[in-house]
């Protein structure tokens, strides 16, 4: 398998007038093409920082991050970033929201638009094309947010606790939907979460980070293949994985 993302002894320090905070210290791991990776760790350990570094939104204080052997930079076409809340723009219709990345990247061609509209169609949102975000449920909005990320055809998708704003029931089904969309579209994904069961339900590998400053504490290889999240939750291994990860996260 070929490496898509390489994180090589990356450190990040936040400087403010009052303090300096070492958020990430000497972090290294690789992500292979087609993988679904989860990064979990206690809250405040630096997960969001890691994603921002990968997205090129923060320059690492030390070390380097490569995507397909070239250093990352913000707005790279290879990357898509999905945040905790859907962040749809309320003054834009659903399709106009989906087109935002194309407008920013100056790629608003008919082909690209059609690609976006097809994605909306494929995932059951066509009838809401001309609707405004407030007319959609939380789960639908999160799907729109994912399609907005996918419309620029990224190879690597970064997800920062994308379901945590949803209620439990919706979270399970949206997580299932999102997983299917991501695997169907053949993108590599890095998901950040503090929800252990969510990580088990989607990942090929789980990277456990230590408390701040975050380092890789342990990497778990799951053997579910392409089993979907809801199916995984029904398997007998599920609780074993959960216990294992829970222990790893809680013991220092």
């Amino acid at each position: 398998m070929n490496k898509l993302l390489e994180i090589k002894s990356v450190s990040h320090v936040y400087h403010t007038k009052e303090n300096e905070t070492i958020a990430v210290d000497d972090l290294s791991f690789d992500v292979f093409k087609g993988e679904f990776i989860s990064v979990i760790g206690p809250s405040g350990c630096g997960k969001t920082t890691v994603l921002s570094l990968i997205a090129g939104l923060l320059p690492p204080s030390r070390g380097e991050i490569l995507i397909s052997n070239t250093p990352v930079k913000a707005g790279s076409d290879k990357l898509g970033y999905m945040l905790q809340k859907d962040q749809l723009f309320p003054w834009r219709t659903i399709e106009k929201n989906v087109f935002i990345p194309l407008e920013i990247k100056k790629k608003l061609t008919d082909d690209a638009k059609n690609y976006g509209l097809n994605l909306l169609d494929k995932y059951g949102l066509t009838s809401f094309r001309k609707s405004y975000p407030y007319e959609l449920s939380g789960g639908m909005r999160q799907r729109v947010a994912l399609i907005r990320t996918l419309v620029a055809k990224p190879e690597l998708l970064l997800l920062d606790e994308p379901f945590s704003a949803l209620d439990y029931q919706t979270r399970l089904s949206v997580c299932d939907d999102v997983y299917k969309i991501i695997t169907e579209q053949n993108v590599t994904a890095v998901l950040v979460t503090h929800d252990i069961s969510e990580a088990i339900s989607v990942s090929d590998r789980i990277i456990v980070l230590s408390k701040r400053p975050s380092k890789v504490k342990h990497i778990f290889e799951l053997d579910y293949g392409k089993t979907t999240p809801l199916k995984r939750r029904e398997t007998s291994n599920f609780s074993k994985w959960f216990e294992l990860l829970y222990k790893e996260i809680t013991n220092d």
């Binding site: 913000a74 707005g75 309320p90 003054w91 407008e103 920013i104 405004y132 407030y134 007319e135 620029a152």
Partner: protein, 272 residues
Amino acid sequence: MINEKKYSLDHIRFLRKERNETIFVYVLRFSLLALLLLVWEILAVNNVIDPFITSYPSKIFTTVIELFKHNDLLMHIGVTLYETFLGFIISVVAGFIIALIMWLSVRCRRVLEPYVVVLNSLPKIALGPIIIVWFGSGNKAIIAMAVLISVIVCIMTMLGGFLSTDKDKILLLKSFGANKWQIMTKLVIPSNLPTFVNMLKIALGMAWIGSIMGEYLVSKAGLGYLIVYGSQVFKLDLVMASTVVLLVLSALMYAFITLFEKLAITYKTDSN
């Protein structure tokens, strides 16, 4: 989902109750006005209060008609409207642009902030004499007064809105590779449409204060001039009539902004 026009009987009853309540409020509102006018009229006509000082509704009404016929009321209205409107437009445009510049450049904002704060706390009317010296005793001085009074609030309102733009939405655009200009045009400006409408409302009120105050200080025409002139020659009918005209004009202009708000903001924001 949207096509749920078949309401239940309960809901129809609810809607009817709501509508009746609204109508009732309107009726009360106008009755209150009518009552006040009537009491005023009766008290003044029967000399319970001095009609020379207080004037009274029917007299004010005939004065307005008289003014229309013989004293170029339309000209005076035109002058005041012109000054107010120009002052308003200049403040809104300048305030918007200056706030944008202060958003675009953090350094610029840090440099300018204390100036804005100090100018805001200064009672602008104190600058009246200086303005008259600089701009002469005509329209220009009055427009300058209107601008001076409203532009600072415009800047502060707009800048406040720009700065409170959702950080995560900015992050999202940055992740697509947006530059500062794109963040401004795609996010910061459109998301602040409600702030803009707010600013219009505040600026309008301020521009009225500026233009009328300006006319009090220097002028040969306009509603403010009529009011001052009326009080100097002790024609309270004239003062009252001009004030009423002013009231109607400012209400009309405010209504225009409310209409603009309805047309421009067609979406709903939610707390998400």
